[in-house]
């Protein structure tokens, strides 16, 4: 129990930073209705760009901004593949993600690159966990406030309409292709921000750091909905996704403490997401009774 409590601040810091990724996933998955597989690649890309820019001597905040921008470009590429070249959404994201592996390797020159908090004025670091929590909270609050305002504007409303009903959106003169691209740019920008902060927090960037990031993002969004309910306003929904990420990392910490081998973590994450996403279907089978199940099979 003592060890668990000692680990808590670090777990919360990590959860909050991943919470920014969860907000990005909320934008693409929930608002845009786009299962965006780019995320795994753009998370690593954000980290790789940020770390290499820092090592190249750029100011840390400029480096982080560069991480956000490159991740935005990755989202834009997926958007082009889907909206202009009509490649299915999932495949568009997978193609970008796969391509990004090579690009991330090229950016870093090798599979991991360390960045020391002793040599650079990093924004967050595992060495200063309490400060990291405060800074992460500031980032989260700023992101939520900006998105809340943005999605209330004409352009933001157009993106929401596109995610809800493309037919209706086009009938109202909305360029749905452009809205999808813009939504992917915003979502991946947030993912890149999360990746750039995590790399600083851990003190290194890793080409594999984004593997399964989309699943963690989805888990956070779903946990947030299940725990806090979904009948809230937009800002609150974004906040619950961040809390979902924190809860996710607390749960992971608990099962690790209980002795689960870390090799099994990805299986655990995948199972959590699969289970929660299956709940609506399971409920409807339950309600429609066994006859329905028999007819379906």
């Amino acid at each position: 129990m003592g060890a668990f409590l000692n680990a808590m601040p670090g777990v919360i810091a990590q959860g909050l930073i991943w919470g920014i990724l969860a907000i990005g996933v909320y934008i693409t998955f929930k608002v845009l209705d786009f299962a965006d597989m780019t995320v795994d690649g753009s998370f690593s890309l954000g980290g790789a760009t940020t770390v290499m820019a820092i090592l190249a001597g750029f100011d840390v905040s400029i480096a982080l901004l560069a991480g956000v921008l490159t991740a935005m470009i990755a989202g834009y590429v997926t958007g082009i593949l889907h909206t202009i070249f009509k490649i299915p959404a999932i495949l568009s994201g997978i193609l970008t993600q796969l391509g990004l592996y090579s690009i991330n390797m090229r950016i870093m020159g090798k599979s991991t690159q360390a960045v020391s908090v002793d040599k650079y004025a990093l924004i967050v670091s595992i060495r200063f966990v309490n400060e990291t929590i405060v800074i992460a909270l500031i980032f989260v609050a700023a992101v939520i406030a900006l998105l809340y305002i943005f999605f209330g504007t004409e352009i933001g409303s157009a993106i929401r309409a596109t995610g809800c009903n493309q037919n209706m959106a086009r009938a109202q003169g909305i360029n749905t292709g452009r809205c999808i691209r813009l939504g992917l740019v915003i979502g991946n920008g947030l993912v890149g921000l999360s990746g750039g902060l995590i790399a600083q927090y851990q003190g290194f960037s890793d080409v594999n750091s984004g593997r399964g990031a989309i699943v963690i993002g989805l888990a956070a969004v779903i946990i947030g909905e299940v725990v806090f309910g979904s009948r809230h306003n937009f800002a609150f929904k974004l906040a619950t996704s961040v809390l979902g990420a924190v809860i996710y990392y607390i749960v992971i910490q608990i099962v690790l403490q209980l002795g689960l081998k870390s090799d099994y973590l990805k299986l655990l994450s995948a199972s959590i997401v699969a289970l929660f996403m299956a709940i609506p279907a399971i409920q409807s089978y339950w309600q429609n009774g066994k006859r329905m199940i028999r007819r379906k099979s």
Binding site: F150, G152, T153, E154, I155, G156, S157, A158, R160, A161, C164, N165, N167, M168, A169, R170, A171, Q172, G173, I174, N175, T176
Partner: protein, 264 residues
């Protein structure tokens, strides 16, 4: 004025599912014309409306609306000139957005969208008045999600959205077919009212011959991807359902008379 010339569209060209859905349709509507369209299943009624709205590109022909050649304009660009209500009440509104947000999206049809507020306070007061005029009790539900409304309420709102910014052309594709008779009548009356008040040019597809006769100043009948009968003015006013049945028989086409045609 709407001028359609020799419009052709074949689906699934070169496959066994090839279907010539429009076989050279020409049609001219004058400003203020309210034209009803009848015809059997698969006659091409929805196809002509979709061609005008730009859901997919046509094969050949031209569509000119008030002097603008819109034949090759993408769907979202011609939306500037066209208001639409669909058969499926789910299709015309964004279910997860509020009533006022849906209306505000429609109020900006054809305009560039910026980082300005998506809905303003002045707009909301205006919307409350409009909703009150519908007499469906929606004036108190401005911030309700549209997904919570009934099919009839959604169609009424879609109608409002289609006319909020006066369109050069209103397209109604069996927009009352999914509603119960009482609600259908209400939405149809509302359509009449909106078309009259705003002096809109409109095309309305219906399966109900009586409705087709009772509404509008012009009626066209489609069969096998073309117009086979076109009446207006006094001749249309004196039209009887039996006359239409005759026409269907004359046409003698496979899709002319079938179960979905409502006779009374």
């Amino acid at each position: 004025m709407l001028e359609i010339k020799n419009l052709k569209k074949t689906f699934n060209k070169g496959t066994i599912n090839e279907k010539a859905a429009l076989t050279g349709v020409s049609l001219t509507l004058n400003d203020g014309d309210f034209c009803t369209i009848i015809g059997g299943n698969g006659a091409g009624k929805s196809t002509i409306l979709n061609a005008i709205a730009g859901v997919w590109p046509v094969d050949s022909g031209s569509i000119v609306l008030n002097g603008h050649d819109i034949t090759w304009l993408p769907e979202h660009k011609r939306a500037k000139y066209i208001g639409r209500v669909f058969q499926d009440p789910m299709m015309g509104t964004a279910a997860t957005m509020q009533i006022d947000e849906n209306l505000a999206l429609a109020a900006r049809r054809g305009q560039s969208r910026f980082l300005k507020p998506g809905t303003t306070e002045a707009e909301r007061t205006h919307y409350v008045d409009l909703l009150r005029s519908l007499d469906l009790g929606l004036e108190d539900r401005l911030t309700s999600k549209v997904g919570l409304l009934s099919g009839g309420q959604r169609q009424a709102i879609t109608l409002l959205m289609a006319s909020l910014k006066k369109p050069d052309l209103l397209l109604l594709d069996e927009h009352t077919a999914a509603l119960d008779p009482k609600t259908a009548k209400k939405v149809l009356d509302l359509s009449d009212l909106i078309i009259q008040e705003n002096q809109l040019t409109a095309l309305m597809v219906t399966h109900n011959m009586k409705d087709a006769i009772a509404h509008g100043n012009r009626l066209i009948m489609m069969s096998d991807g073309n117009i086979i009968y076109d009446v207006s003015g006094e001749e249309k006013e004196n039209l009887q359902v039996t006359d239409l049945l005759h026409k269907f028989e004359e046409a003698g086409s496979s899709d002319a008379v079938n179960d979905r045609l409502v006779l009374n």
